[in-house]
């Protein structure tokens, strides 16, 4: 048969091994930093740079292949299914932290406060502790703190992210209708909204650390707060970088109304990050 319909199998791949080396250097360096090993941060940095190099290389190669028409509907379908299940794995990653939050709020804190089977615990170990939320626990770990309100920055951030979802969809419509200007403008808006979100989040952290004495060490409230919002913020950052790449590619004239998997994958990812935020807003900030 002709190679026209052949499923595309790249002949050899050097990026994965580079990625593995980068990953190992990065993690080893970071581990050594945690152990206070001198100059370990150099290894971390090298690892990071190798990873960045790998990503540029790998994605660059894929983009070239894509633009040269190597991928047809069957490859496209593989990418789609792959991306969907990748996002699902991310959902489960967040589920671990949400699960921890729910457990802490519904079980461990009430038990420590003497609820249900925790009466004896409260009487003998944590006498005087009353269950409430937020809390830094019966040991008052981290000292006096204030709660992060929901209706200031977080509410604004919610609006920002929600509208970024809208602008992204608008950009997508532009792409489908082959209106390049709408595509590019929509993407710019989305990226800007994403960056502003991250900026405001940084501002909020600074407010938490400096004004509220709310730190990662503020008992379980601080732990869950920073862990959940932190990993979310990280995902927004990654999403924003992905969007920027899409923006650059759009400007370069990549994508066609029929064929723009990378754009769609990024959009799915962005919407996923959006939905996680809604969960955060409700369970971390509001209720």
């Amino acid at each position: 048969m002709s190679s026209e319909n052949a499923y595309y199998v790249p002949h050899d791949a050097k990026w994965p091994i580079i990625g593995s080396i980068g990953l190992m250097l990065f993690f080893c360096g970071f581990s050594a930093q945690l152990n206070n090993t001198p100059s370990a941060s150099i290894v971390t940095m090298i690892g990071f740079l190798v990873l960045v190099y790998m990503m540029f290389g790998w994605f660059g190669e894929v983009i070239d292949e894509s633009e040269s028409g190597a991928y047809k509907s069957s490859e496209d379908a593989s990418f789609r299914v792959g991306m969907i299940w990748f996002i699902f794995s991310e959902v489960m990653f967040f589920a671990a932290f949400f699960g921890a939050l729910f457990y802490i709020r519904n079980f461990s804190v009430p038990w420590l406060g003497g609820d249900g089977s925790g009466a004896i615990t409260n009487e003998y170990i944590w006498n005087g502790f009353e269950a409430m939320w937020p809390t830094n626990g019966p040991g008052e770990v981290g000292g006096q703190y204030e709660k992060m309100g929901a209706w200031g920055l977080p509410a604004i951030n919610t609006l920002l992210l929600l509208s970024s979802g809208v602008t992204l969809t608008w950009a997508h419509w532009g792409l489908i209708a082959n209106k390049r200007k709408q595509l590019i403008f929509g993407l710019i808006l989305t990226v800007v909204l994403g960056i502003v979100f991250v900026g405001l989040q940084a501002l909020e952290y600074s407010h938490g650390y400096h004004d509220l004495n709310l730190t990662m060490g503020t008992g379980v409230y601080g732990s869950t707060f920073y862990m959940l919002t932190g990993f979310h913020g990280f995902h927004v950052t990654v999403g924003a970088i992905m969007l920027t790449v899409m923006l650059v590619r759009s400007i370069k004239g990549h994508f066609t109304p029929e064929n723009h998997f990378a754009f769609e994958a990024t959009a799915w990812y962005w919407h996923f990050v959006d939905v996680v935020w809604l969960g955060l807003f409700v369970f971390v900030y509001w209720l």
Partner: protein, 376 residues
């Protein structure tokens, strides 16, 4: 070859059964000495037998087929590959069997959970690696550690044959004592990591979790000495924190309790005497062997990366007050526990003196019990 194959296939099922036949030889769960433990034992035997019977049927069918449906005997393969009836049968029947097992299991579980209205309560706290027993409402509170004979024999290269040690690894310096026939409630917790309190003859184990209290209870029918072990991995010496419970008649228990109380009052009111530093060093050596070697090791060399060396340690060879403070109050968040509740004034003074003037250290100063008492 044929014979061998059959033998092996059936062997597994057979050995399963022989575990029951030889139950008296310490192969099986102990029947125990409480109502609960007997219920658990019965439950265990029930499920074991159910499994054995199912096993005999399942493996029997398999072995039959292996013998009679083999090609070398000229068997011709039939081609059936579906039967709704069969599938239903072997879905429903196991399901029913499971229900039959679940009913007694549920009753026993509900009984075990009923820790209400105990006659006396004891708070049990797990430490790395010893148990602390506090009799609630009585002024009795002590630690229970692996006995010295086992502790010596268990060192790598000790050259002591464990068989010559009485109750090797299952003996403690000071056992828990409870009265017979009374419902004794246990409040289990831990000070550092998770431990698990287990005496097989009582029919249960329960985890001791730092910061939380778990409840359990026991009502023992016969006086005697019952032994168990910590059952949750808790670090280096997890294998060396046994539990010994002496169950006494009510009268004996009362006498014992009175003695303990008298002892603890005497201790409190005793006049603290000055002790010769050399003598302190000798006591200190014993205290060190009993309490500190587990981490800081025999010669004080420690384990790089987890347990700092005592030899040449900046704290040990530095300001004595800091040294005392560290040993008395420990270092929260690390394995270094607060020893102020675990050791007496004399022991604390001794251990400090010992560490400063042995194990390769030569500071030259000493600590007196009276100074420790002042710091409490």
């Amino acid at each position: 070859m044929n014979k061998l194959k059959q033998l092996c296939a059936g062997g597994a099922a057979l050995t399963f059964m022989s575990s029951i036949a030889r139950a008296d030889y310490g192969l099986n769960l102990p029947v125990g000495v409480t109502e609960t433990s007997r219920q658990v034992y019965d439950l265990h035997m029930l499920i074991l037998w159910v499994c054995v019977v199912i096993g005999v049927i399942v493996f029997g069918a398999m072995i039959y087929s292996m013998i009679y449906h083999r090609k070398s005997r000229g068997a011709v393969a039939s081609q059936f590959h579906e039967s709704m009836t069969a599938e239903l049968v072997w879905t429903v029947i196991p399901f029913i069997i499971l229900i039959v097992m679940a009913i007694p299991a549920t009753t026993v579980l509900i009984d075990m959970h009923d820790s209400s209205e105990p006659d006396l309560q004891i708070k049990v706290t797990g430490y790395q690696w010893k148990w602390r027993y506090e009799y609630i409402g009585e002024d009795v509170d002590f630690f229970s550690t692996l006995d010295a004979a086992s502790n010596e024999a268990r060192r790598v290269g000790s050259d002591i044959d464990p068989a010559t040690v009485d109750n090797y690894l299952l003996n403690v310096d000071k056992p828990l004592v409870i009265p017979v026939g009374k419902k004794v409630g246990f409040l289990l917790t831990a000070s550092d990591v998770i431990h698990s309190w287990w005496v097989p003859d009582f029919g249960w184990k329960k985890d001791a979790i730092p910061g939380f209290i778990n409840e359990a209870w026991v009502k023992v029918d016969e006086p005697g000495v019952y032994r168990g072990q910590c059952a949750e991995l808790c670090g280096r010496d997890h294998g060396f924190m046994p539990i010994v419970v002496e169950v006494k008649s009510e009268a004996d228990y009362a006498t014992w309790l009175a003695e303990q109380k008298a002892g603890s009052t005497a201790e409190k009111t005793a006049v603290i005497e000055e002790i010769d530093p050399l003598e302190l060093k000798n006591i200190g050596k014993k205290v060190y062997t009993a309490n500190c070697v587990a981490c800081h090791l025999q010669k004080g060399e420690g384990v790089a990366g987890i347990y700092p060396a005592i030899t040449g340690s900046a704290i040990v060879t530095g300001d004595i007050n800091q040294h005392v403070d560290l040993v008395m109050n420990g270092k929260p968040g690390t394995a270094m526990a607060a020893f102020k509740d675990q050791l007496s004034d004399t022991e604390l003074a001794a251990i400090i003196t010992y560490q400063r003037n042995s194990l390769g250290n030569k500071v030259g100063d000493a600590m007196q019990p009276i100074d420790i008492a002042a710091l409490r």
